[in-house]
Structures are given as structure tokens and as C-alpha cells.
């Protein structure tokens, strides 16, 4: 079968078809810019285009760069090339192109810039370069101080939509908190355990080859990975919105943050939330999450986290923050087992429970009780104030090995 059958002189037509296919992929969320389309055309030139299989692979290796996107690509490939294979160009009408994407690919210089932003974010206190998020000083912009205070203490469940929007700026600031760890990478230091041979030698050149100054290096502090796992099931309804906003701010902060949501099943939303435009990010995440307000099977979801992501190292050495009310509708023993497994790879496990904000709260929900022995800390999370407490805990986590013993409820 030769779905991509192309006469040798039909260069123009191939170009239009491949560009159309690129638009289809873009409409389905793949990052396909003009450069990729160009690569795809060249790749087609390098293979036997009368072979459907070779054409498929040539297009796939140039237009896809995420394993998660392969499924989407396959569906689009089948729909676009095979259905239209017998027909003429007219049959290949792609959906209307979307407005240009500000974060579209191609600019080769943009990666070092992004890396720069990441580095900057390590020092959250520094003035953020091109951060368009709220700066430390202007969180209260447009809001009277008393209103900010009120929002801080107000239970998320009682927020109006407007208040939720206002709270976003405050959430963004809280979401910048980041635990640190010692990296294997070395940095120059006034003193330290390791000799910096390069700098010592250079400075020795100034003293006729005698190393007068001995310069040192030490292991640098870098942000520790934080994995948020947020329950968006029905019982979390009023809190889930605020929590997902918090997640978005944390992910868009550009640090090493991974975000998952779960109800009946676990969904990784890191990539969907990674946009500077919070509204767009939240829309993308909402589309990706199939089970808003469904039931909860926490154990199954922690198991999915361990099996699908943990084994590849995503949770290794990470601070895992689980946000859930602990109402387990599945197997409670499974939850206990999987929490134990998670604890073996994670550096710290925190559990944020909105219900823990209620006076006299006892972790009685079966799921909560099963998970409790495996937690480092249980925190409340019903209002901004308590999320600020979470931020403080994250920042205070030790950079070296060693566990915190406490399992107390930390109140804001």
C-alpha cells in the first residue's frame, strides 16, 4: 500500500500536504513548527516514499518528540494520510489553523534562556528576569490588605470565583517555595573540601607558577524535585480548583516540579500546566484530566505512580506531596502497601489534607489512617494560610539525607 504515493515532480504538493498534516498535529496539541515541517520534508526525501511504512517513520521521527504524543500521531496519521490516500488534495482539508502560538518552536536561542530562568528560580528572592508572574511586592495589587488577610483565612470551599481569581497571585508566590539538595555538580567556593585545580593553577600563573592561593570547590545546592499528586475526585471538589491553580503556579515557576492529578485514574499534567498563561494551562490540564469529580481509589493511583513513573526514577529522591482528603473507596491495604513502596524511593512524603484544618481533626478516614505511618508530615490545606505553612515546610527540608521524624499535623 502506498498511501503517501507522490509523483517525483510533485514537490509543491507534498509540501502542502505535509504542512497541512503539521497543522492537524498542532491542533491536537503537538509542538509542530515550520522547522519541524521542513525536517519532515527532508526526511521524506531520504526514504522510499512509495513505502507507507518508511513514510510513517520518517514523519514520526521528525514530528514527534514525546512518547506520550505517539498515540495522537498515530491516530492523526491514519486519519490524514490513509483516509485521504486515494483522494485528492481537496480531501485533506485540515482544521482551521489556530492563532500563532507564542511558545511555538524554532527559536534556537530560547533554550539557554529557559535554562537561565531555571537557574534564577533557585534563588526565589532574586528579582526574576523575564518572569511575568507576580513579583514579591505586588501580590496585593488591587486588593486592600484586609481583603488579602480575609482570603488567607477563608476556607477554599467558600471562595467565590472572583476570590479564587484574586487568590491566584497569592498562590503563585507560595508555590515558589522549593526544597534544596546537594548536587553532584561542584561550584567555586572560598573554602571547601575539594581543591579547584583549574582556578588554583590559573592564579598560580600570576605568582610565577607557585600556587600561593589554594582555591576550593564544594557541592552546589540545587532544587530538589517535588512531585505533587492532587486528588480531584468529587469529595475534593471545592479544594481541587484552588489546588490545581497552586500546581499550575508551581509548574510554571520553571523548577523541577512534576504534577499529577487523580480521581479514578492517575494523569500526568506537568506538560499541560507548563504555560505562562495560567488560563490556558488550566484549560489544557482540564482537558487532559478524564476524571474530574469522579470517585477516588487512592491506593490504585499511588500504585500507578510507583509502577509507571517511580520505576523510571521520577520519585527517587523527590519530595512527594499528596493532596487528598484520604477518602479511599478502593482497597485500603493496597494503599498502605503502595505508600510503603513510595517511601522507599522518595526523600520525603507530605500529605496535605484540607479536612485537617477542622478543629479537632483526627485522621480517621480509612485511607488516611493507612497512609499515616508512611508520612513525614500531615499538613492542613484548606486555605492560603495553610499553604503558606506548606511552603515553609518545603523550604525548611534538609538538603542532606536523613528523615524528619514528626508526623504531627502542622497548622498554618
Amino acid at each position: 500500500m502506498s498511501a503517501v504515493a507522490v509523483p517525483a515532480d510533485a514537490g509543491e504538493r507534498v509540501l502542502r500536504r505535509v504542512a497541512g498534516f503539521g497543522r492537524v498535529l498542532r491542533a491536537r496539541g503537538l509542538e509542530v513548527g515550520p522547522r519541524r515541517v521542513q525536517d519532515a520534508l527532508e526526511a521524506l526525501g531520504a526514504v522510499d516514499v512509495t513505502s507507507r511504512e518508511e513514510s510513517y517513520w520518517a514523519l514520526r521521527c521528525t514530528l514527534v518528540s514525546h512518547h506520550e504524543d505517539i498515540e495522537v500521531f498515530d491516530a492523526a496519521f491514519a486519519a490524514f494520510w490513509e483516509k485521504a490516500g486515494a483522494g485528492e488534495d481537496g480531501a485533506l482539508e485540515a482544521p482551521a489553523p489556530r492563532p500563532p502560538d507564542p511558545e511555538a518552536p524554532t527559536a534556537p536561542g530560547d533554550a539557554p534562556a529557559r535554562a537561565g530562568v531555571r537557574r534564577e528560580a533557585v534563588h526565589a528572592a532574586e528579582p526574576g528576569g523575564d518572569e511575568d508572574g507576580p513579583e514579591d511586592g505586588d501580590t496585593a495589587e488591587g486588593m486592600a490588605w484586609s481583603a488579602v488577610e480575609r482570603l488567607r483565612e477563608l476556607d477554599f470551599a467558600e471562595y467565590t470565583d472572583d476570590e479564587l481569581r484574586e487568590a491566584r497571585r497569592l498562590l503563585a508566590r507560595v508555590a515558589r517555595a522549593v526544597p534544596l539538595r546537594r548536587s553532584r555538580r561542584l561550584e567555586a567556593a572560598p573554602s571547601g573540601p575539594m581543591l579547584d585545580k583549574r582556578r588554583t593553577m590559573r592564579s598560580a600563573m600570576r605568582t610565577e607558577g607557585t600556587p600561593v592561593l589554594r582555591l576550593a570547590r564544594r557541592r552546589r545546592l540545587v532544587p530538589r524535585k517535588v512531585v505533587f499528586v492532587v486528588d480531584v475526585s468529587g469529595s475534593m471538589g471545592p479544594y481541587a480548583r484552588a489546588m490545581v491553580m497552586f500546581l499550575q503556579a508551581a509548574v510554571a515557576g520553571g523548577r523541577r516540579v512534576e504534577a499529577f492529578t487523580f480521581g479514578t485514574r492517575l494523569t500526568r499534567v506537568t506538560r499541560h500546566l507548563d504555560s505562562r498563561d495560567p488560563d490556558r494551562a488550566l484549560r489544557a490540564a482540564a482537558q487532559a484530566v478524564p476524571d474530574w469529580a469522579g470517585g477516588t481509589r487512592i491506593g490504585d493511583n499511588i500504585k500507578a505512580l510507583n509502577d509507571r513513573w517511580g520505576r523510571r526514577g521520577l520519585t527517587r529522591g523527590a519530595v512527594v506531596v499528596i493532596v487528598s482528603d484520604g477518602w479511599e473507596r478502593g482497597d485500603v491495604d493496597l494503599l498502605g502497601r503502595e505508600m510503603r513502596a513510595l517511601r522507599r524511593t522518595a526523600h520525603t512524603i507530605l500529605w496535605v489534607n484540607p479536612l485537617a484544618g477542622e478543629p479537632g481533626y483526627q485522621p480517621l478516614a480509612q485511607g488516611m489512617a493507612a497512609a499515616l505511618p508512611h508520612l513525614d508530615l500531615l499538613l492542613e490545606g484548606h486555605n492560603l494560610h495553610s499553604l503558606e505553612a506548606l511552603a515553609r515546610v518545603l523550604e525548611a527540608l534538609p538538603s542532606e539525607r536523613g528523615r524528619r521524624a514528626g508526623r504531627a499535623v502542622v497548622r498554618g
Partner: protein, 303 residues
């Protein structure tokens, strides 16, 4: 360098690397477009082997850079041999021979320690080398940003010596186990290919090619057994590398087919987690062996 997908598949096959049509096509495209190729997949599916076999096919030198956390320019590109520099200076001093050229000498090629990336750029091989950047997901953001620069310009700058540009670009293969997502910018530089677990028939062929002394029956039964483990919800599914290890282990014990007791005793070569071993034993090794022997028989009859 133009060669067809069939030719490449054949040439890799002669080196006991059995590439499927997809991988062979993608490599052909990468060679023709002169773009780096990013191979992703679970551990043990043959990403690194692929680069080795390709270098052999091309008659090129394989230069391997193993990434790890904390890798930096001094480990990956170049460094100076400080001890030697110091000795040289001392010798010059002792013989009162230190002249104006001494500094130039000290920071000259004689004292330069060439690391893999410099080696791959500054080569004078008749055939450009194959540069394997292994497990790039283990390196950090800064190193990734550096790689991005290197892979767009294929040049490195050493302040004391100058800028060195590749006479002919090396063939670059990056591998990642996906312990984290790479930057999109880096991915955009590369062609992308996902290597999954092979179908059982293909895995049997791979075992036969890599462990030629293994009888067909053993190869088929072990491959079927491993394939069923991958479906059994284990935490760390075994890769092809594990199948090959296992077959080699069984051979060394003088086995020519799969027996439940020996399979059980050697299961540690395939499953590396205590929980996984327990889960499989709970499921019943005997049952799995029986199933594998049956399906291996079916494969043998079928083709």
C-alpha cells in the same frame, strides 16, 4: 552515505543487531539529514547497542559519553593536566629555561586532556565518528543547555587555544531512559524514536543472533517466559538485556530447555526486585514455564 533502509537493516543484522523497519528508517533519515537521533525507551531495549552496531556498520570510531549527575565541561569536553603543567614549570625553573613561550606551552595541546565531546568534534578520522551521548536524562539542565549549543554549531571554544570546529560532523546518538523529560529545545534539535519491547518472535531472533550457541528451543521458551513477565504487572519489567543474560546463565548450567526448578533458581537474572520475584512466585513459576513452552512450540510450528 546514501543507503537504503534494507541495506542498513542487513548490515546491522550482520553485526547481530536486529533493527526493525522503524528504527532502520529513522537511522537512515538521521544519516541523511545529518541530525542527532534521540532514542528513548525502557532500560535494556538496546539503545546503546544500536549506536555500537551503527559505528561498526559505518566503519567509524565510537565515542561514548556516559552522562551522570554533575557532569560538566571538564568531564565532557576538555581539562588541563594540572600536575603535568606544574612539573613542567618546575623543570623550566630549575634549568632557568623559562622563556616567554613557557605559558603558551603550558596551555598548549600537550597539556590538554581531551574528553569525549572534544574528541568527537576535533577528529581527523576518514569517516566521522559516531558520538554516543548515553543516558542524557541523568545530566542536569546546565549540561543540557551546553549540549544544545554543541549540537547546533558542532564547535567548542577553549579560551587558551581558540575555537575548534568539526571538519565533518560526527553522527550523534543520544539515549534517554526518560527518568525526566528533556528540554523541548534539545528535542527539537534531534530526530526522535521510541524503542519498545520487541514482539516475542523478534526477541527469539535477537537471542539467537546474540547467543548463537543457545538452542532454538531454549531461546524460544525463555523469550516467551520473559514476554509473559512483562504483562505480569512487575515493577521493573525485564528488557532484552535481561533475556540475553538469562539465556546465557541457563546455557552455562547446561540447560537446553526451560525447567521450572532451574527457571526459579535463576529468576534473579531477570527480575531485580524482591517484590517482583515474590509476585511471580505467587503467580506460579511452574505455570508460567508450562505456558511459555506451549507458546514457544506454537511459534516454532508457525514459522
Amino acid at each position: 552515505m546514501a543507503r537504503s533502509v534494507e541495506q542498513l537493516t542487513g548490515a546491522l543484522g550482520e553485526r547481530a543487531y536486529l533493527a526493525d523497519r522503524g528504527l532502520a528508517t529513522v537511522i537512515t533519515v538521521a544519516l541523511s539529514l545529518r541530525k542527532p537521533l534521540l532514542l528513548e525507551g525502557e532500560a535494556g531495549v538496546g539503545k546503546t547497542e544500536c549506536a555500537k552496531a551503527l559505528a561498526d556498520v559505518l566503519g567509524a570510531r565510537l565515542i561514548r559519553l556516559q552522562c551522570y549527575e554533575g557532569i560538566d565541561v571538564a568531564h565532557a569536553v576538555y581539562d588541563w593536566n594540572y600536575a603535568r603543567q606544574m612539573l613542567y614549570i618546575r623543570t623550566l625553573e630549575a634549568s632557568h629555561a623559562a622563556g616567554p613561550d613557557a605559558v603558551k606551552d603550558v596551555f598548549g595541546p600537550d597539556f590538554l586532556v581531551r574528553r569525549p565531546l572534544l574528541d568527537a568534534i576535533d577528529h581527523d578520522d576518514p569517516t566521522p565518528p559516531v558520538l554516543l551521548i548515553d543516558e542524557v536524562d541523568r545530566a542536569d539542565d546546565e549540561f543540557e543547555a551546553f549540549l544544545l549549543e554543541l549540537l547546533s554549531d558542532f564547535q567548542v571554544t577553549i579560551p587558551e587555544i581558540g575555537t575548534i570546529r568539526a571538519r565533518e560532523r560526527p553522527v550523534v546518538i543520544l539515549t534517554s531512559n526518560r527518568t525526566r523529560d528533556l528540554h523541548d529545545a534539545l528535542k527539537r534539535r534531534c530526530l526522535y524514536h521510541w524503542i519498545g519491547y520487541p514482539a516475542t518472535e523478534r526477541e527469539i531472533e535477537i537471542v539467537r543472533a546474540r547467543v548463537p550457541e543457545a538452542p532454538e528451543r531454549l531461546a524460544a521458551e525463555a523469550s516467551a517466559f520473559v514476554a509473559s513477565l512483562r504483562h505480569l504487572d512487575v515493577a521493573k519489567a525485564p528488557g532484552i538485556a535481561e533475556t540475553l543474560d538469562w539465556v546465557a546463565a541457563l546455557l552455562s548450567l547446561g540447560e537446553d530447555e526451560l525447567h521450572p526448578e532451574v527457571a526459579d533458581a535463576t529468576l534473579g537474572t531477570v527480575l531485580k526486585y524482591h517484590e517482583d520475584l515474590e509476585r511471580v512466585r505467587d503467580h506460579g513459576v511452574e505455570r508460567l514455564v508450562a505456558d511459555s513452552r506451549r507458546s514457544a512450540g506454537a511459534v516454532a510450528r508457525g514459522g
